[in-house]
């Protein structure tokens, strides 16, 4: 059977339904859950109101938090010595950051531009207003 062609409202509704289903699925996946498996591999869901559920979740959360903590501490350690001989992340952090724009020559941008133009042999750009006849 041929599917009925949808209009713009129908298409928009379809997209919204898809999005809603995705959000619901993501929420469901994020929900904590506990499964136990017997020796045959048969899985049983531990019900949230069941005995030991809270304890199981709390223990699992603490295990994950412990590993998170260790990984965060590992990431904070520098993998190679920072430029300038700083050996720890703290020392590296204390160094002043370079400006993200304007380069590092310490000169104003206009001056650097005219220097570059001079190197290329180009005419210097006019920066002031043009002289008028009545100026003289």
């Amino acid at each position: 059977m041929k599917e009925k062609r949808k209009g713009p409202i129908g298409r928009a509704a379809g997209i919204a339904e898809g999005l809603a289903a995705t959000v619901r699925r993501m929420q469901r996946e994020r929900e904590p859950r506990v499964l136990v498996y017997d020796e045959t591999g048969y899985a049983r869901l531990v019900q949230p109101d069941g005995r030991g559920y809270e304890s199981l979740l709390e223990t699992a959360e603490r295990m994950v938090a412990l590993v998170d903590e260790v990984e965060t501490a590992e990431k904070a350690k520098p993998r190679r010595p920072a430029v300038g001989g700083a050996e720890t992340a703290g020392e590296a952090e204390e160094k002043p950051r370079r400006a993200k724009t304007g380069g590092g020559s310490g000169k104003p941008r206009v001056a650097r531009r005219s220097e570059a133009a001079a190197r290329r042999g180009a005419k210097p750009r006019r920066t002031g207003r043009a002289p008028r006849e009545d100026d003289a």
Binding site: P32, L35, V67, V70
Partner: protein
């Protein structure tokens, strides 16, 4: 080759097998840590303590659940998932990433514990076009190459 895996290397072996494993700990029958990977020594003691507590909580919860005694447990929380498996001699617990595939992780746990107890070694396949990796010529050899010990020879 059976019997080559030591308790000290077991947790590391599991983390080698599974890219989603972040840290693992092995406990002996008395509940003492026998090996860990991914954590410092003092932190692995904490993880071992928690792993022991996990199965104690499982045994408490099991009274309300029909079926045989739980051998494996999977607990998904917000920032990760904990998997644990036990045999009469060993308990192996691993903290995995949130997106880890449960069936694969549980299979790896079983396979590594089986290897530790003298079972067949978990073999990692290599790509056919890698240098020196000759493909299996016979069906028997191919079965032996299987990374799943149950299917292997």
């Amino acid at each position: 080759m059976a019997g080559t895996l030591t308790p000290e290397r077991t947790a590391e072996r599991l983390c080698e097998l599974s890219a989603d494993a972040r840290a693992a700990v092995l406990l002996d029958a008395a509940g003492s840590p026998a090996g860990a990977y991914g954590l410092s020594e003092e932190r692995s003691g904490e993880l071992a303590e928690l792993a022991r507590g996990l199965f104690e909580a499982v045994d408490r919860a099991h009274r309300d659940i029909p079926g045989g005694p739980p051998e494996q447990v999977e607990a998904q929380v917000e920032r990760g998932t904990v998997y644990a498996s036990r045999t009469p001699h060993w308990t192996l617990a691993v903290v995995g990433r949130r997106g880890a595939l449960s069936s694969l992780m549980l299979m790896d746990l079983r396979a590594v514990l089986r290897e530790l107890e003298g079972g067949p070694q978990v073999r990692r396949s290599t790509a056919a076009d890698e240098e020196g990796a000759a493909g299996p010529a016979t069906e028997e050899a191919a079965a032996g190459e299987s990374p799943i010990p149950e299917l292997g020879g």
